[in-house]
């Protein structure tokens, strides 16, 4: 069968099981969009900015576990994907980004809309390809999906020159992927499992610290089973939330650790004598001052990426492999972990230092909004966040009960991620209530995607926690820069002596054809949220909150985990 490169590419995507592409057209990729025009099996979601395409593909992948696909033209189309690709790379999200490129004969000539996108994305992709010959195209697409989705997942970029899209050749589907230099499957080492069990049996104060690897590895159930079988307390990174169900009354549940973690999670880590790290990478936001991280603890580390092991902290028992396999092995053995006294201690810490905030009847507290949202949705909605204070309040006050329900840019911290990612998630899981929690700063970074949600009737809900500030930077300036609020004020609340909002998110949303409303009185929050959630189409709620609320507790950068400010009894 002789087909054009564009047809071969689309045929390959179908065979890889791709159902949705988030894309934006442009000169050199018209041949590809021309094929997609009549393609029934792949839904093309045309976004309003390429960055939105990358984040939407990322959100699609996080919510579904499948590979997300985004598509852009050469030059500026490709560079607009870069932030989205870097975001996916830092959080190990399986994604394939396809970019158009100028014709092979023009490459290197500074042609119109030419950019060396494989060069630009080399440090932020798991791998990338420039397709120089249409005969390599099918094999490359196959390899790209294989690389993106196996081992430690990550984004892969395929750069396709225009003439490769238009040249015809015999289509041959490679049945198998054979890469002699890429072997992502590791068999869990039994000797290491036994060593881990020896340490667990000896431990007095063990803690499980897990991260996004548990979500990526679909190992939430096994983790929960293992922790409950041996009564080991569990703390999570931001990206792990939902892996172990949130329930404050569960004596094993510690919530999130780190810079804005709970007091008891940070105390537990600091005082533990054994940390079982699962699919987590000891990021600086988690460890605080690295030399004083868990000073008395031995560390067992389960991770699929050998380079994660002993990168930031010295690991005593590394277990390289899929977290699911490792937990399955650990669950085969009967052994006893002594945690009764330890759990009693943790219970005291929990009682003395719960997550807390000052409620107000005058002004809406953001924590209250998230608590109410958590209660109304029973912790079962998909919550996509932007980056900043609201993101931390979601992590602290939303009780995630299922994996793949928190979507957040943890590693790169990308403002502008949450809204398009929420759109992608809603497309991936149409039956799930999908809610974007945004700050007034972040939402404005990709607000154009409101048109996408309206056009395709994607019923995503947006809650803006509007404090008229870049709240997290303002908080740092308040605490560490003498309240010198440089470049953080986003809106003055009065115009010509009258109260006003700008942008007026309600008017903006309405201009895009959305349902929108605003709430300013704490007494109205619950009803306003219910109204929002009952809307059939895309809908936005602008929540005017306390302007200078802080996220506490907080471990200042460079301090150890016990040196928290705020939230202490």
């Amino acid at each position: 069968m002789t087909l054009s490169g564009a047809k071969i590419l689309v045929e390959c995507l179908k065979r890889e099981g791709v159902e949705v592409i988030f894309g934006y057209p442009g000169g050199v990729v018209i041949p590809l969009f021309d094929v997609l025009y009549e393609e029934k099996d792949i839904k093309l979601i045309h976004v309003r900015h390429e960055q939105g395409a990358a984040h939407a593909a990322d959100g699609y992948a996080r919510a579904s576990g499948k590979v997300g696909v985004c598509l852009a033209t050469s030059g500026p189309g490709a560079t607009n994907l870069v932030t989205g690709i870097a975001t996916a790379y830092m959080d190990s999200i399986p994604m394939v980004a396809i970019t158009g490129q100028v014709a092979t004969s023009m490459i290197g000539s500074d042609a119109f809309q030419e950019v060396d996108i494989t060069g630009i994305t080399r440090p932020i992709t798991k791998h990338n390809f420039l397709v120089k010959d249409v005969n390599d195209l099918a094999r490359i697409v196959r390899e790209a999906f294989y690389i993106a989705s196996t081992g430690r997942p990550g984004p892969v970029l395929i750069d396709v020159p225009k003439d490769v899209l238009t040249t015809k050749t015999e289509f041959i589907w490679p049945e198998k992927v054979e890469l002699r230099s890429y072997k992502p499957f590791f068999k869990v080492n039994q000797g290491q499992i036994k060593k881990a069990i020896e340490l667990l049996e000896k431990a007095q104060r063990p803690v499980i610290y897990y991260g996004g690897g548990v979500i990526a590895g679909n190992a939430g159930d096994l983790l929960t089973e293992f922790a409950r079988k041996h009564k080991i307390p569990v703390t999570s990174t931001l990206l792990g939330l939902g892996g172990y169900p949130a329930e404050t009354s569960d004596p094993l549940y510690l919530g999130m650790l780190g810079m804005h973690g709970t007091v008891y999670a940070n105390y537990a880590i600091y005082h533990s004598d054994l940390i079982l790290a699962i699919g987590a990478r000891f990021d600086d936001r988690v460890t605080g001052k690295i030399d004083e991280f868990a000073p008395g603890a031995k560390i067992i580390h389960i991770d699929i990426d050998p380079s994660s092991i002993s990168k930031n902290v010295v690991v005593h028992v590394p277990i390289v492999g899929d977290v699911k396999d490792a937990l399955t092995e650990l669950l085969k053995y009967d052994f006893h972990v002594h945690t009764d006294a330890w759990l009693k201690q943790i219970e005291e810490w929990k009682k003395a230092n719960p997550l807390t905030y000052q409620q107000s009847s005058q002004v809406i507290k953001p924590q209250y909004v998230i608590e109410t949202l958590s209660r109304l949705t029973k912790g079962k909605a998909i919550i996509s966040t932007e980056v900043g204070q609201h993101q931390m309040w979601v992590a602290q006050y939303y009780g995630f009960t299922k994996p793949r329900t928190l979507l957040s840019s943890g590693g790169l911290g990308t403002m502008g991620f949450g809204f398009p990612a929420g759109i992608g998630a809603q497309v991936a899981r149409p039956s799930m209530q999908t809610i974007v929690v945004a700050g007034d700063g972040s939402l404005q970074m990709n607000i154009q995607e409101m048109a996408t949600a309206r056009y395709y009737d994607i019923p995503v809900k947006v809650i803006v926690l509007n404090n008229t500030y870049l709240g997290m930077v303002r908080q740092w300036q308040e605490l560490f820069y003498n309240k010198r609020y440089s470049a953080v004020k986003l809106a003055k609340v009065t115009c010509d002596g009258k109260e006003c909002y700008y942008p007026d998110f309600v008017k903006v949303a309405e201009a895009y054809g959305w349902w929108a409303s605003r709430v300013v009185d704490p007494a109205d929050v619950e009803k306003a949220l219910k109204d929002l959630l009952s809307q059939e189409g895309p809908a936005l709620l602008d929540v005017v909150i306390e302007q200078e609320e802080n996220v506490f507790p907080m471990v200042p950068a460079g301090a150890n985990l016990t040196q928290m400010i705020g939230g202490l009894a």
């Binding site: 494989t118 060069g119 080399r122 440090p123 798991k126 791998h127 420039l130 690389i147 890469l179 002699r180 230099s181 890429y182 990426d305 050998p306 380079s307 092991i309 002993s310 990168k311």
Partner: protein, 157 residues
């Protein structure tokens, strides 16, 4: 401490850029790097000399292994291996001192590869230390210019 790594990679365009990029992005220090095809034209070998402590080099090895196009990373440092460097050294010299320089080259089993009224160019191969030693000796005569390869290495046996 210096570590010598022998890295087998796919002979694709862009592989060198990936490896160089990895070193610069993670702040690893390359002392020297040499690349060439192996007996299998689809495979290249890179000999990389890295400076750093044990932990840094451990990360370097893991990060290299993580690159999709890296087939194998071998740390030769702890093993028995042979290594060679090649240097071309041009020394400014007149007829009176020429004899002395040729004698020095002989001691190091070097070769005279070019000669003019005012210069003489020596080729020398050997371990890094040997090449360093002859350079040190020739300095006093005035080295005009010099080119030196990175180290290449193979395991013994």
């Amino acid at each position: 401490m210096q570590y010598t790594l022998s890295v087998l990679v796919e002979n694709h365009f862009g592989v060198l850029a990936r490896i160089a990029g990895l070193f610069s992005a993670r702040g690893f220090n390359i002392v020297s790097l040499s690349v060439a095809e192996t007996e299998d034209p689809t495979v290249s070998v890179m000999t990389i000399v890295v400076d750093g402590d044990n932990r840094v080099v451990d990360q370097v090895k893991k990060q290299l292994n993580k690159l999709i196009e890296v087939i194998k990373v071998r740390d030769l440092t702890e093993e028995e291996y042979v290594e060679r460097e090649l240097a071309l050294i041009k020394v400014g010299v007149n007829a009176t001192k020429r004899r002395e320089i040729i004698e020095i080259a002989d001691v190091f089993k070097g070769k005279v590869v070019d000669i003019s009224h005012t210069t003489i160019t020596i080729e020398v191969t050997g371990s890094e230390e040997k090449v360093d030693a002859i350079i040190e000796l020739l300095k006093s005569y005035g080295i005009i210019e010099m080119a030196r390869t990175g180290k290449i290495a193979l395991l013994r046996g």
